[in-house]
Each structure stands twice: as structure tokens, then as C-alpha cells.
């Protein structure tokens, strides 16, 4: 597979925006093609549902068609009478579990529905499992159950949901934060702009539906499933089934997309494992596309209010961001939308507040840029409105309100090349000369043209993670960490980091991951996987080199004898004396002379607490969008999209660019396409499929440009990696909404922006 590992021929585009982190003689920083590329283009990459152990049974869940009430009856007899059906699992015969599913499972486990009783709390909740010899029989068995319900009125919106103050939002963030005197800031303002904004429920819709293939052997179980947090999940499943954590092996070599939906425990996957236990045979359970609209999380709907006070100088005097986030009737995940206003712009007074709204829906959860996406989608429109009120160019207005330190706390940023992002993005887009007024630009076909921009931001966490590196007698290495590659390119970027730390070429490094019995690779989420697992791998490699150095420098017959730890350099499979690089010894030789078959090193990752305390840490970016709108149909097309992002050290520019593109496409989707529409009477989602729930197809996406703005940040971690997976969504949404205004003069404050919003107000 060597052709995949060799560095790519650089395209002209790559050359112009190449970051300066390339270390000579190192794989890191190179635009290497994906190491798993060949597997993925030949169909040989194995996703969970591709597994087919001997004696496999197929399970299909029956899900509720009502949002609230109880199941009165199921025709279990009819289902069981269908040829091939082996068992129907309902609350009446479901085997007991060792953890109460109505209790949360720390640290991130939500309350789940695993047939604990006959209550229905949302549409598409599991109400039974049919297990059969074939998928066809199980599917028909589900139909034959013909459930009858006792239905209660569904709470579906602001008028009938239960509002409550949100103590905490997202995963444990405070619900209210306040700095300075908001009232004074608003009173002292030369002008105040305010508006009501809303964002719809959105569903992750990874292309791979959630799946589980479980096979028990006594009290141990092997689970094939797409999973973003292997070790944590293994411990949770163990608790549910009352077995030691080491008895659970999760294999997740490839995920067909995750976006947050495969990080958190859910009912259907527990039910698949349970069915295998209860029936004593391996079971495969795969959700249908429609069943992904309920039990596996979504981006919760929000209703937001923003008030911005500005002075005559165009500087903010006050920023007030209030958000109501929909959550389920039985659990809490309130979209931390308003917290976006704590990250971006300087203001002497800032207040962010959240409320929750209980509805009869499945519990929302983190979805790509949770909080930042929905919050900045509104904030960036509000900033544009304020700029308009001040008669300022939107970019100039943002620069006038540039936060040199973290808003409110005054903490310095660990690094912040946002100014460079603005400059480079604006230059590449050709922002200069944009008319201030809306509705003045037309293209050669008479289409309305508008330009808009938005600021992108995302925190850059570093999670605890562990790794192991084993140097082998032949000078090659095996590196291992139980991480997850859901498409971000971990298998490639992490291997590059490991190879760099070991002073080996990439093709000398075998990389194992995606299993829960490997050192804990932490969570692949929060845009923190490369920073976290990468640091652990790098430290493990460093540990190997330190041990190797000890062997060599302590060996009187080695050319490195007496050189000491500080005096050697590891490169191309050899240790060299730092003061005289011609004196060197190969790893294989060092191991052989020491009589060792292999050398094992370990490494950990975790953010330095002092650094975390002292600095605010974010990735930043600026996105510029052009839209074209047919003046008769008011159909909006994004015709150009340029993003410039600064995210610390870039390990693989080719893969990073793909992450930015993907995020920006999610921005197009958020701004113009995605929305789950619930029937107000029943709470049923009317577009729970990929035809009616719109996500961008190829023709919706213009040619894009992603600029990698160089940034060095020794404070986030020794490697200086920030994270790129989610930030692309954030600035793009607002940029497109603002471009629509600039084309038409119409401010649409409710996402997604629809043709009818524009036609109605034309």
C-alpha cells in the first residue's frame, strides 16, 4: 500500500497555503493520503453491520408512532407465528438489566429506553424487538405487532412545552453567565439592535445507520459497533449487564460518520446486545433511517433573543444573548447556544442565559459544533444587523469589536490568529469594495448577488488519552491507542504523529486503533481527538526513544556511548549524536546488542492544568460567502465559499482541508436546508428520511476554498494542535444568512432560510 503513504504531489492551491509546521525529515505536516484509502475504495473497510458471525440472528426494533402515552397492546402472537421469527422481546419478557435505564450513567450516559415499561416518551422510541433468522422475517414481524396505544396530547412547541431555567447546558456548562453591567451598557448605547432568532431540530444522519453486532461467550461479549468513545462505552455496557468492564470488547475500526451521535449510549444498541444475551446467539441490529429520528440524539431546537448595544464608535457596549433550548420530558440536554457570545467579541457587559423547554421528543445531544453552531448562527446575523445600524462594513465592525483577551474574564488567549484569518479570507474572496447597501448587486443573468461573512470559533480541548508504542527487533514499530476514525482521518494523522515521535518513516509504523482493549484513546469528539490521542502517541514514541537512548549510550561498544539523553537525535530509524550526526546506530542494532526483542513505551495525554487556568483556548476562522438568488423564484444558491482558519499546528493539510470543507457544507446545510418538521398535533416527524430531510447533495455545493492560516501555540499542548472538525460549521451559517440579506435586503432570522421567507417579504 506504499503508494498511499507517499506524500502527494502538491497542487498549486496546496503550495500557496502550505503551513510552515513541516518538520524536515518528518511525516508530520505532510499532505499524506489516507492510509485507509485503499480499504475504503475497494469496499474492504469493515463497518459494524458488515459483520456476519456464524449463527447470526437479525433483530429489528419496533418503534412508537406516538409521542406520549403508553403501549396498550402488541400482537406478539402474530409476530411469533411468522416463519423465521425466533423471539419477540417486550417489557413483559425482557431480561433484567443491572443498571436502571431511568438513571443517568456517568459521565455522559443519558437516560435510555430499553423496554423498561410500557410508557412512550417520544416518537420512534423502541417498544419491542423482533428477532428472526432473517432480516426480512424480523422486519415483517415488527409490522405484525400492530401496536395499540393509549395516547396523551403531545407537547410539541413553545405554547405547550414546560419551560424551566437551565442550571447547566450542553455537557455541564453553566446556564447563565454575566459580566459587567448589562443595563448600563444598553442605556449608554448610541443604538440598540435586537431580534428573535430560531434554529430547527436537526438530525445527525450519519450515512451509516447505528448498528450493533453482538456475540456473547459466557459472561464476555464482543460488540461490533460504530463508537466514538470506546472505553467509556465498554464500561457502560458492562454496568448494564453486570459484568466486569474487561469482559466487553468493542470493535469499531471504521465509523460511517458520527458527528456526536455515536459518542453517547443509546437504547437500540443496548437492546441489540441484550437480545444476543437473552437468546444465546449472535445478533445484528441495525436502525432504519427513520428510526434515527428519535433514540440516537439530535441538535435541539432553539429560540434565541439577542440585544446588542453599540456606541458611536461602532464598539459594543452591551451584548445580551438569551436562548431557550428544547429538551426531552425526561432528560436534560439544553443546547448551549448563547455561550457562543462568550467567545468572540469584546464588550464591557455580556449576559448569556438559557432556559430549557420540555417536549415529548427524544433527548437531544451533541451534534457537530453543539452550541457554537446554533449560537453563532444567530450572533453573526445580530452582528451584521448592528453593523448595518452603525453604517459600517461587517468586517470592519467585527474588527472594531475584536477581543484581544477572552470577553468577560480578560484571560489571554493561548493564541489567536483571527486577524490573519479575516485578512487572508477577505483577500481571497475579494471582499474589498463590497457595497454597504443591500440589493445592489446582480450577475450577468440578472440574479441577485449578495456577500456575507461570519466569524468561526470553536474551543480546543485536550482529553485524557493513553497510548503504547512497541519498537520491534527489525526496527519497525507498532503503535496502539483505542481511538476512533469517523472520517476525520485519525488513522493517518495519528500514525504521522507516532512516526514523527519515533523517528521512523510512516511506512515503518503499524498503527492499531478502534478497539476497546487497546490503551484508552479517549473520546473522538469536541474536535479534540488528534490533540489528545496524538499527544499520547507522541509521548509513547518519546518514551521508546528515551529507553533506546539509555541502552545505546550505556553500551561501551556503541558509537553513541556516553552521549547522554540530551545528546542524540532520532531520525530515519537511527539514533545520531547531536554533536556529530555521522556517528549513529540503527534501532535494530541497538536492540540486538542489548539482546532485546522489543522495547515498549507508553504515553498519556491531558491538558496541563496551569495552562488551562491561565489561558483561553480556541480555534478561530473567518468565512466569506456569496449567494445568487433568482429574483423570480427566490431560490438561494451558494455560489462561492471561502474559509480561513487558524487551528494551531496542522498535521495533515490534505485531511484538514477536507474537515473544513465538510464543516462548511454543514454550514450550507444549516443555513438553507436542514430541518426536521414535526406534526404539531402528534409530534411525529413528517420528514424522517433522506428525501424530505434535506442535506446538501453535490449540486448544492459550490467550489470552496479553505485557507490554512499558520498558527503556533505551545500552550495548548506540547504538540500545539488545536482541532479542526467542527469549526467549519460555525462561521459559515451566519455568512450565508448575511449574504442572503445583502442580496435581497430581507433579514431572515429563522433557520433554515426558505424560499417562502423571501417570497413573502419581497
Amino acid at each position: 500500500m506504499s503508494e498511499q503513504m507517499s506524500p502527494e504531489r502538491m497542487s498549486p492551491e496546496t503550495q500557496t497555503t502550505f503551513p510552515r509546521h513541516v518538520r524536515h525529515g518528518s511525516n508530520s505536516g505532510q499532505p499524506v493520503s489516507r492510509r485507509d484509502g485503499r480499504l475504503k475504495v475497494t469496499g474492504a473497510a469493515t463497518y459494524a453491520a458488515d459483520n456476519h458471525p456464524e449463527g447470526l440472528l437479525h433483530a429489528v426494533i419496533a418503534t412508537s408512532t406516538i409521542a406520549r402515552g403508553r403501549v396498550r397492546s402488541l400482537d406478539v402472537e402474530a409476530a411469533k407465528a411468522h416463519p423465521g421469527v425466533v423471539e419477540v422481546i417486550t417489557p413483559a419478557n425482557r431480561m433484567p438489566l443491572h443498571h436502571d435505564p431511568n438513571e443517568k450513567m456517568p459521565p455522559f450516559g443519558f437516560r435510555v429506553e430499553v423496554l423498561q415499561d410500557d410508557t412512550v416518551r417520544y416518537v420512534n422510541q423502541p417498544i419491542a424487538v423482533v428477532v428472526a433468522e432473517t432480516l426480512e422475517a424480523a422486519t415483517e414481524g415488527v409490522r405484525l405487532l400492530a401496536p395499540r396505544y393509549e395516547e396523551e396530547d403531545a407537547r410539541t412547541g413553545l405554547d405547550n412545552g414546560l419551560r424551566h431555567e437551565a442550571q447547566s447546558v450542553g455537557v455541564g456548562a453553566p446556564g447563565t453567565v454575566s459580566f459587567g453591567d448589562l443595563d448600563a451598557g444598553l442605556k449608554g448605547a448610541a443604538r440598540v439592535t435586537e431580534g428573535d432568532y430560531s434554529t430547527p431540530p436537526q438530525y445527525h444522519n450519519a450515512m451509516e445507520p447505528h448498528a450493533v453486532v453482538a456475540e456473547w461467550d459466557g459472561d464476555t461479549v464482543t460488540i461490533d459497533m460504530p463508537n466514538q468513545a470506546l472505553r467509556m462505552s465498554a464500561a457502560s455496557y458492562a454496568a448494564y449487564f453486570g459484568i466486569p468492564a474487561e469482559n466487553v470488547l468493542i470493535r469499531s475500526p471504521f465509523l460511517g460518520g458520527g458527528f456526536g451521535s455515536k459518542a453517547i449510549l443509546n437504547g437500540p444498541q443496548i437492546l441489540g446486545i441484550l437480545a444476543a444475551r437473552q437468546l444465546g446467539r449472535p445478533v445484528k441490529l441495525v436502525l432504519t433511517r427513520a428510526q434515527m429520528y428519535g433514540p440516537v440524539g439530535h441538535r435541539g431546537r432553539t429560540w434565541q433573543k439577542l440585544r446588542l448595544g453599540t456606541g458611536d464608535d461602532g464598539k459594543l457596549t452591551a451584548l445580551h444573548h438569551h436562548s431557550i433550548g428544547a429538551t426531552s420530558s425526561f432528560d436534560d440536554f439544553v443546547e448551549p447556544a448563547a455561550n457562543a457570545s462568550l467567545m468572540l467579541y469584546e464588550s464591557p457587559a455580556i449576559r448569556v442565559e438559557h432556559e430549557g423547554l420540555r417536549l415529548d421528543i427524544g433527548t437531544p445531544g451533541p451534534m457537530r459544533a453543539p452550541g457554537e453552531a446554533s449560537g453563532s448562527a444567530s450572533l453573526e446575523i445580530a452582528m451584521d444587523e448592528a453593523a448595518e445600524a452603525c453604517g459600517m462594513d461587517p468586517l470592519a465592525f467585527r474588527l472594531a469589536n475584536y477581543a484581544e483577551t477572552q470577553p468577560g474574564t480578560g484571560k489571554p488567549f493561548s493564541s489567536k490568529a483571527l486577524r490573519e484569518c479575516y485578512e487572508q479570507g477577505a483577500a481571497a474572496f475579494g471582499w474589498a469594495g463590497r457595497p454597504l447597501e443591500a440589493g445592489t448587486m446582480r450577475d450577468e443573468n440578472g440574479f441577485l448577488v449578495g456577500w456575507g461573512m461570519g466569524t468561526a470559533v470553536f474551543p480546543c480541548p485536550q482529553f485524557p488519552a493513553e497510548a503504547r508504542a512497541t519498537l520491534r527487533a527489525d526496527g519497525t514499530a507498532l503503535v496502539e491507542t483505542g481511538g476512533a476514525d469517523m472520517g476525520q482521518g485519525a488513522w493517518t494523522a495519528l500514525a504521522q504523529l507516532a512516526a514523527e515521535s519515533l523517528g521512523l518513516d510512516l511506512d515503518k509504523v503499524e498503527f492499531h486503533s478502534g478497539r476497546s482493549d487497546l490503551p484508552d484513546g479517549g473520546v473522538a469528539g469536541g474536535s479534540g481527538h488528534t490533540a489528545s490521542a496524538g499527544q499520547a502517541l507522541s509521548n509513547a514514541g518519546g518514551d521508546v526513544i528515551a529507553r533506546l537512548t539509555e541502552l545505546a549510550t550505556g553500551d561501551p561498544d556503541s558509537p553513541l556511548f556516553g552521549a547522554g539523553n540530551i545528546g542524540v537525535v532520532a531520525a530515519e530509524g537511527r539514533l545520531h549524536r547531536r554533536d556529530d550526526e555521522t556517528r549513529s546506530q540503527s534501532y535494530a542494532d541497538i536492540l540486538a546488542r542489548a539482546g532485546q526483542k522489543e522495547l515498549v513505551g507508553t504515553g498519556k495525554s491531558g491538558r496541563d492544568p496551569a495552562s488551562a487556568e491561565a489561558f483561553a483556548m480556541h480555534s478561530h476562522g473567518a468565512v466569506f460567502a456569496e449567494v445568487k438568488i433568482d429574483p423570480n423564484l427566490m431560490q438561494v444558491r451558494v455560489s462561492r465559499l471561502v474559509g480561513a482558519f487558524a487551528a494551531g499546528r496542522i498535521i495533515n493539510p490534505k485531511l484538514v482541508r477536507s474537515q473544513y470543507y465538510g464543516g462548511m457544507i454543514w454550514g450550507i446545510s444549516f443555513a438553507l436546508q436542514e430541518e426536521a418538521v414535526a406534526d404539531r398535533r402528534t409530534g411525529r416527524i413528517m420528514n424522517a428520511d433522506l428525501a424530505e430531510y434535506h442535506v446538501p447533495v453535490n449540486a448544492d455545493v459550490p467550489r470552496m476554498e479553505a485557507i490554512l492560516v499558520p498558527e503556533e501555540d505551545p500552550r495548548v499542548s506540547p504538540l500545539g494542535i488545536k482541532g479542526v472538525g467542527e469549526i467549519g460549521v460555525t462561521g459559515t451559517v451566519g455568512a450565508i444568512a448575511n449574504a442572503v440579506w445583502h442580496a435581497t435586503g430581507i433579514r431572515v432570522r429563522n433557520y433554515p432560510i426558505r424560499i417562502e421567507d423571501l417570497l413573502r417579504r419581497r
Binding site: 485507509d36 475504495v41 475497494t42 456476519h52 415483517e140 472520517g487 470543507y661 465538510g662 442535506v695
Partner: protein, 174 residues
């Protein structure tokens, strides 16, 4: 009941005794013939993940009943490469990073192979985008996909040209 069908998949003849008329071509491949490379994203003809070639034409295999495939010649993602030699579309997908998670990729590639063979897109990115729009990529790898399809299409066109000389002008290619 049992229904016998005989079909060629990736050049290999399969005689299948179907015990169930409801089986789709997609589930036949995935669950019964050990060819799970073709993916299921929706089972409704809405995403394109299950695209295969039947008698050279692109179809959504989730919408085709296996029972209707008697005598068909089917190509799946597993049958594109010649041994270690990747099909030009496969190679172009790696080169242009035309995927992330890889789940839509088998369908994208089969669509691209069909599209290039049909010669409908030519060298026009807009047409490629339009004609590849039956295949959803939630990861958003569209830019790479478009570039990869264009490049593979160009290569296919070059290979179809005569090797020396230019018949149109009568001039030497050099």
C-alpha cells in the same frame, strides 16, 4: 418456497436458491453472499450508498428485488480493481481525498464509473455535480468527489483517443 436464480457478480457465476421473495439485491449481496462492500444508507432509494452496476447500468440495489436478477451481470465495489491494480476512479478518489468516513464511497465510486461510461458529464464540473447528486455524502467530501470524477473521466477520454497523431487535423500530436 424456493426460487432459483443465477447471476454473475464481479465475473463469478452464482446460483442462488432464494428462500424468500422479499430479499433485495442489496441484502442478497450483504447478508447472503458475503459481499458487504455495498452499503445500506436508507433502504429507500434516497441516498445512493447501495449503487451497483447491473448490466452496466447504475441502480440502487436496495430498490431491486433479488428475484428479478436472474441472468443479470452485476458489478459491485469489490469487483472494480484488477488484483492489486485499482480502477482509475478508485485511485482518483484516494488522490483527491474524495471521502472521509468512506461509507458513501462504494456508492459514489460505482456511480462515477457508470457516469463516465455513459459519457454524459464530459469535462464539465457542473454536470458532474448534478449527475453525482443521487449519492449523498454526509461528511461533505463533494469537492474531492467532483475533482476525482473529472480526473478519472479525463483519463478515460485520453485512453479512448488514438495513441499517435491527431486524426482531426492530420498534424502530429507532438
Amino acid at each position: 418456497m424456493s426460487l432459483s436464480i443465477s447471476l454473475a457478480i464481479n465475473g463469478r457465476q452464482h446460483d442462488v436458491a432464494l428462500n424468500d421473495p422479499r430479499v433485495t439485491l442489496l441484502d442478497l449481496l450483504r447478508e447472503r453472499l458475503d459481499l458487504p462492500g455495498t452499503k445500506k444508507g436508507c433502504d429507500r432509494g434516497q441516498c445512493g450508498a447501495c449503487t451497483v452496476l447491473v448490466d452496466g447500468r447504475r441502480i440502487n440495489s436496495c430498490l431491486a428485488l433479488a428475484a428479478s436478477m436472474d441472468g443479470a451481470e452485476i458489478t459491485t465495489i469489490e469487483g472494480l480493481a484488477e488484483g492489486d491494480e485499482l480502477h482509475p476512479v478508485q485511485a482518483a478518489f484516494i488522490e483527491h481525498d474524495a471521502f472521509q468516513c468512506g461509507y458513501c464511497t462504494p456508492g459514489q465510486i460505482m456511480s462515477a464509473v457508470g457516469l463516465i461510461k455513459e459519457g454524459m458529464a464530459g469535462d464539465d464540473p457542473e454536470r458532474v455535480r448534478e449527475l453525482m447528486s443521487g449519492n449523498i455524502c454526509r461528511c461533505g467530501a463533494y469537492q474531492g468527489i467532483t475533482e476525482a470524477v473529472l480526473e478519472a473521466g479525463r483519463k478515460a477520454a485520453e485512453n479512448a483517443q488514438p495513441q499517435t497523431g491527431n486524426p482531426d487535423t492530420g498534424k502530429d500530436a507532438a
